[in-house]
Amino acid sequence: MKRIVGIVLIIIWSLPGNSQILLEDKTGDKIVTNFFNLPDNNFGLVKLTTGDQSLGFNFFTSTKLHDPAKYRVSSYGLKGKPTEGYAAVITNGQFSPGINMSYSLTQVSIFADGFTGKLKPIDWGGIDLSYDVNKYSLYKRDTSFGNQMYSKTFKGLNIGVNYNLILKQSLILSFKLGYSRRNNYDELTSVEIKDTKTILDTASSTQRLSSVAKTVKSGEYIEFDAYPIVFSITKATASDAKNSADTAKLKIGYTFYVKTLASQKLPKTDAGIIIFLTRQGKSGVRTPIFGVNIQAKDFFDVQKSNNGLLNRIQVGFTTNFTL
């Protein structure tokens, strides 16, 4: 029920949006470096992702006014989330912060700046840097009582390069690769630990129980180096002419992606699709107002879960709006 209310709130919250989307997968990883219709001045964007339950802010600057045919875009981002999710915050009053700071520099038109011809390709690409600091609450059953509950602070650097290409004014191809410090926190099992204290009052012969609940992850926690490789194809939605009746219609666009995490510890390949609905604004820009992300985690079952592909399907929602 809480999840449904959350989804409805996000849909309502997104309605005033008039910006373009930054497509992210369920875990909050950027799939497409997309900044179309970046305003000519500096620009802020707030993002909500229910997949990793994060709230983020991005600030952009560009040199587009100098030369709209060849320019650079810088993006500064800050994203926060409770690492155990909002359910633990609401039910247990428990909050372990997770912060992601990011910077990206993108050059628009590197090799292809199509102004003439049939295919008219345009490309852009750049670097992404980010740093994660997450505090986790963990539980280890096979140890002494006093050491069973412990917390861990994860610090991880991520560096990547990306290259993107638009073909025929509708297909966006994106390729990313890089280095990432990761952990297996999301793969661990969530358990609720309840510590109960008993107080016996002999005068009234009353036994009083008080308990404190905490949501933690159980299992062997590991950190490791990984090399993510992401490939995606996005079908953008076309704008309709100002006087067309179709301007009021919502259109469906989609992104297919394959995300491989090359690593010695937990190699895996996730495949997914983000389906988004776009609405046309007065400027003719079609803005995604709501996105559904369906992801098949560990598509090839490299981690030998042996639980069937359907059981590894995850669903998340993403949207954004301008300040």
Partner: protein
Amino acid sequence: MLTFDLELRVKTFGSIVIWKVILEDATNENNRILDWRPSDDSTYLFKKLPGYKISDNSLEVFVGCNGIEGANVACEVIINGDMQINKVISKVTDTNYAKVSYNI
């Protein structure tokens, strides 16, 4: 040689990634217009070129753009304070630069 005050105003519609305006000769990148400024109400970008000189009596304005299908770029031309009737409109699906000639 003709000298006049020229102002260009550009409005975009839809998802435009790159665009350019070139005067006189589309193959000469040195004639590309740079350093645009936003209007006070941010509805268009403009470039003022006071005392602009051309060698004949016709000004050629070329506009090219690229982005997502359905988008376009419109360039209004103001010569000596007079808004010209014909705009230069370039669509992302155009296979060449849009061009309009203005007699001075």
